[in-house]
């Protein structure tokens, strides 16, 4: 057995020994992946696997290193980039990923990527994919 495999085995048993907790966070993450365009909050997410919202928040942060809200925002920005690259108008992209305000969407997008949604779309349009 290599050093790495022995480390993988060790970490799996010490850090990931609680299958019930893993199941809770994985179900939550998958739910966010399939419903990022809807209005999601911690209370709703905690009901999916019948846990308290504080417990869910703690577990999600422990296993994924982010809060569910941070993960949701990442997911929405990722999806926004896909839609903008395909030519979807900025306002339409905003609503498709679950934002209610094009202004707040644009502000968040720019703070995360360094470029406005329109600027990103323009750049994507001129990039030449192989």
């Amino acid at each position: 057995m290599t050093f790495y495999l022995s480390e993988v085995t060790r970490i799996r048993s010490t850090c990931y020994g609680n299958q019930a907790q893993l199941e809770t966070v994985m179900v939550t993450r998958r739910y966010i992946n399939h419903n990022f365009d809807k209005k999601l909050n911690l209370k709703l997410l905690s009901h999916i696997h019948f846990t308290s919202k504080f417990h869910l928040l703690r577990l999600f942060k422990r296993y994924y290193g982010q809060t569910p809200q941070q993960y949701l925002t990442d997911k929405r920005i990722e999806k926004a980039k896909e839609l903008l690259s395909k030519g979807t108008p900025v306002n339409e992209t905003c609503f498709e990923i679950g934002f209610e305000s094009p202004c707040s969407f644009s502000t968040l997008f720019k703070s995360r990527t360094g470029i406005s949604p329109a600027g990103f779309q323009k750049r994507a349009t001129f990039a030449m994919p192989v």
């Binding site: 290599t2 790495y4 495999l5 970490i11 990931y16 893993l22 994985m26 750049r123 990039a127 192989v130």
Partner: protein
């Protein structure tokens, strides 16, 4: 400050280019001769062509400490870096069918599934699927 390039040390740049493009599916991005024996050679993900570039860095050929370090990591089974995939089991099957050798078959590790293969250029590389 932005992260645009990450380096992967390789024993042979041309061999690495063939492996990373034909087996792994990356696309050559930049290829500029630097000397008789080396190039500034980068590849990018086909799915993210404006994303980070992987520099196929020939340091192990020219710099003994780099060679020693790479060999030590490899023999310990430690991956030099990792790439994300949507489905580790499917990617494993695809690569096995292309003749790629794995030291760790798809294995769940908490919130991820990992697999580790030999890039034939001196490195173990890890695949990771988020669960």
């Amino acid at each position: 400050m932005k992260v645009k390039v990450i380096s992967v040390p390789v024993m042979d740049q041309e061999k690495a280019l063939q492996f990373y493009t034909q087996k792994l599916g990356f696309i050559k991005k930049i290829d500029v001769p630097l000397s008789e024996h080396s190039r500034w050679l980068t590849v990018v993900s086909k799915e993210e062509q404006d994303g980070p570039q992987i520099l196929l860095e020939p340091a192990p050929q020219h710099f003994e400490p780099a060679k020693v370090y790479q060999k030590a990591l490899f023999e310990a089974g430690i991956p030099y870096t990792q790439f994300n995939v949507d489905n580790a089991a499917q990617e494993y099957e695809r690569l096995v069918n292309l003749g790629v050798e794995f030291s760790i078959t798809p294995t769940e590790m908490g919130t991820v599934k990992i697999a580790v293969f030999n890039d034939t250029c001196g490195n173990n590389i890890q695949l990771v699927e988020m669960l």
